[in-house]
């Protein structure tokens, strides 16, 4: 499957290069300052990832509009060139070959999902292009040896709970939870969140009493809940997506288990969540990469402009697309250039050495492009989910021990 497609893309790239060599010459230095900066993007607008793909597209479009309304980048307008990769990894490679090789875009930014980010980052690397991407939080993105890649979000899965771990380990001995139960879906992202916290709490001397991993197709959580409830831990942590988190919480409530703290990834931040568990949300914690209420300077503008443009408030996917744009823009403004060639290395070097203010907070990266931050922690208080950690972004104080659910 892979090698013929690969060969085709090489053939395309080669012929593109030949064509350019044939008709090129003398064209290079003629970049007038009114030319738009063209940003090439391939997104899954159809297929498996079409929902998040469209979300990211809106984020990119909102960024381009906001930037152009303010006079553009380096005085030039920003123009997006978006191709649909149909959620297909071979297609995404061909798309970026086309964008960089034959369309000669000035900048490229990433597609959606780890599966598509890795092959497309490889193409960008071959052309020495800066590659900032809005999705692809799994470990495999960062152990490929990419030097040009930057993940435009606060943290990878393992670091989502860092603020909570810090908070809990800093509690005085009498209050600190001593026992924790973990239940995580057998999925690199969901498990990563729970195990990231587990590692830190275990290092801090908090005992693990239950450690359950369940397959993604699990629908009955009665037995897992029974195991957790009978161990009576102070705290329960769910490495969940959506339905599993909801079902596990309900199963725990049915067994009348009342932990001092309950933290679940993803599910509690979903708009359907409170209704799904009959509003018994009291005190449930969840890490989140983006909140409309976060106090970061550019976020207010983003929410306003986005709502005006699309008639709805932005969610995490949209914020990730927008953040990617902000990161690239910061590098372009600092390096004073936006075109293929040497400029790209300047952009990459600048991002490796600097911090960027975005709608998800200040971002900085290590050598592999892994962001150095952590997710905000939100908690259900009354009928609303509020940011409680870190202290500088909080809307309410963390309630611990949490009220009964």
């Amino acid at each position: 499957m892979r090698s013929p497609a690969r060969r085709t893309t090489w053939a395309v790239a080669l012929s593109a290069t030949l064509l350019l060599a044939a008709c090129g010459g003398g064209d290079e230095e003629g970049q007038s300052s009114d030319d738009p900066i063209v940003v090439g993007i391939s997104l899954p607008l159809t297929g498996d990832f079409s929902e998040p793909g469209k979300g990211v597209q809106e984020g990119y479009e909102a960024w381009a509009k906001t930037t152009n309304d303010k006079g553009g980048l380096l005085g030039r307008q920003v123009e997006l060139k978006i191709l649909d990769d149909q959620s297909n990894a071979d297609r995404v490679v061909a798309d970026y070959e086309q964008l960089i090789g034959s369309d000669q875009v000035d900048l490229v930014v990433g597609p959606f999902s780890t599966r598509l980010v890795v092959p497309s980052a490889r193409v960008a690397q071959e052309y020495n292009m800066l590659f900032v991407e809005p999705a692809g939080a799994a470990a495999e993105v960062f152990n490929q040896g990419f030097k040009n890649l930057f993940y435009a979000a606060p943290a990878v899965a393992d670091d989502h709970y860092n603020h909570l771990a810090e908070y809990l380990l800093a509690l005085p001995a009498g209050q600190k939870p001593t026992t924790v139960a973990y239940a995580a879906m057998d999925d690199p992202f969901a498990q990563g969140t729970a195990y990231g916290l587990k590692k830190k709490l275990e290092a801090g001397g908090v005992k693990t009493v239950v450690d359950e991993v369940y397959p993604p197709n699990t629908t009955d959580f009665g037995s897992i809940a029974a195991k957790i409830a009978s161990a009576k831990p102070d705290m329960v942590v769910g490495g969940s997506q959506y339905q599993d988190g909801v079902n596990l919480i309900v199963a725990l409530q049915q067994l009348n288990y009342q932990p001092k703290l309950a933290a679940f990834s993803t599910a509690p931040t979903s708009p359907e969540f409170a209704k799904a568990i009959g509003n018994k949300t009291a005190g449930i914690l969840s890490p989140t990469g983006y909140s409309q209420d976060a106090p970061y300077p550019s976020n207010k503008e983003f929410v306003e402009k986005f709502t005006a443009q699309f008639g709805k408030a932005p969610e995490e996917d949209q914020a990730n697309g927008y953040t990617t744009g902000q990161v690239v823009a910061a590098a372009v403004e600092a390096a004073g250039c936006a075109e293929q060639g040497e400029c790209q290395q300047k952009l990459i070097d600048w991002l490796h050495g600097n911090q960027v203010e975005t709608v998800v907070g200040p971002l900085s990266w290590d050598a592999t492009g892994k962001p150095q931050g952590a997710h905000m922690i939100q908690q259900w208080v009354g009928n609303d989910i509020k940011i409680v950690l870190p202290a500088e972004a909080k809307e309410a104080d963390l309630v611990y021990p949490k009220p009964a659910w």
């Binding site: 397959p215 037995s223 009959g278």
Partner: protein, 295 residues
């Protein structure tokens, strides 16, 4: 070594789960008994019924259990139509094989329509008694699970009485046991088979409603159910409702208890281990069912 309380709690959960499995598998074994049909779409109909229950609860604001007033007759009619219109027209030689393909297609259609009508968003019925539970010797019994178990017990008992005590039941069992002989004694086996199929699908309406009380549903959920249900009816002996019920209780209990030492991933395999063991040791099933031998 797990504590006694956890063991007791797991046994209760296992029995409740097994009861639900028994209800969900009842229709599946009935179809096979009546027509040697492998009905892949059974679990898709379960999810359809669950969605209708959810819709009743959210849009009309009434208890989801009331949706059965409409769904049970509706599914019965759909079952009769399905059997008369599609499955009875298949050639007997290729019936089992073709029925897999046809019902697979039906399952995909139901899944697609559910996605179209209700979107892929995962739904859960909001019930005032959703997390309520009763205490039983230190263990907790969730009210919704108890209702689901009750529905299973009532409908399986009803099915049993229907099969053993009524003229239609005798005709249906005769059709299952020996179609030619049944025809010789004057039973309209075609019509009986149609009604039998409708009966099977009516159990899916009850089963889906029971399922919806305590599950988060989404259109593709049925693929997670069809495997374990198929394993249950093979272990129970294809075509035997009582056998399927016994196998369901046993496997539900085994799954629940095995989760304590083995975890959720390995406990799930109990269905397939039981399936292989049955096929290797006793292909006709462990709880009755003479049919598989002939199959």
């Amino acid at each position: 070594m797990p504590s006694g309380a956890l063991l007791f709690q797991s046994i209760i959960l296992g029995l409740l789960l097994g009861g639900l499995y028994a209800l969900l598998a009842a229709g599946l074994t009935l179809y096979f008994g009546i027509m040697r049909v492998v009905m892949i779409a059974h679990s898709a109909f379960l999810i359809l019924a669950a969605y209708l229950a959810w819709w009743t609860s959210t849009e009309l604001g009434i208890d989801p259990l009331l949706s059965m007033v409409v769904t049970v007759p509706l599914f019965f009619a759909a079952g009769v139509l399905l059997q008369r219109g599609l499955l009875s027209r298949l050639r007997p030689v290729t019936l089992t094989m073709m029925s897999v393909l046809i019902t697979f297609a039906i399952a995909l259609m139901i899944e697609g329509l559910l996605g179209y009508a209700f979107s892929g968003t995962q739904r859960r019925i909001q019930l005032s008694y959703g997390t309520a539970s009763l205490e039983l010797f230190g263990a907790r019994v969730a009210v919704v699970k108890l209702i689901a178990f009750g529905l299973a017990a009532v409908s399986l008992a009803g099915l049993y009485v229907l099969m053993k005590r009524t003229q239609f039941g005798w005709a249906l069992r005769a059709t299952i046991q020996h179609r030619d002989a049944a025809r010789l004694v004057g039973i309209d086996t075609e019509r009986t088979a149609g009604f039998g199929f409708g009966l099977g699908l009516a159990t899916a309406a009850v089963g889906g409603t029971a399922l919806s009380l305590d599950t988060t549903i989404y259109p593709s959920l049925h693929w997670h159910w069809i495997g374990p249900l198929m394993a249950i009816i093979v272990v129970g002996g294809l075509g035997s409702v009582a056998g399927a019920a016994a196998a369901a209780l046993l496997l539900g209990l085994a799954q629940s208890l095995l989760q304590i030492p083995m975890g959720a991933t390995w406990a799930q395999t109990v269905f397939y281990v039981a399936l292989f063991a049955t096929l290797a040791i006793r292909p006709q099933g462990f709880f009755g069912g003479r049919l598989a031998q002939r199959f």
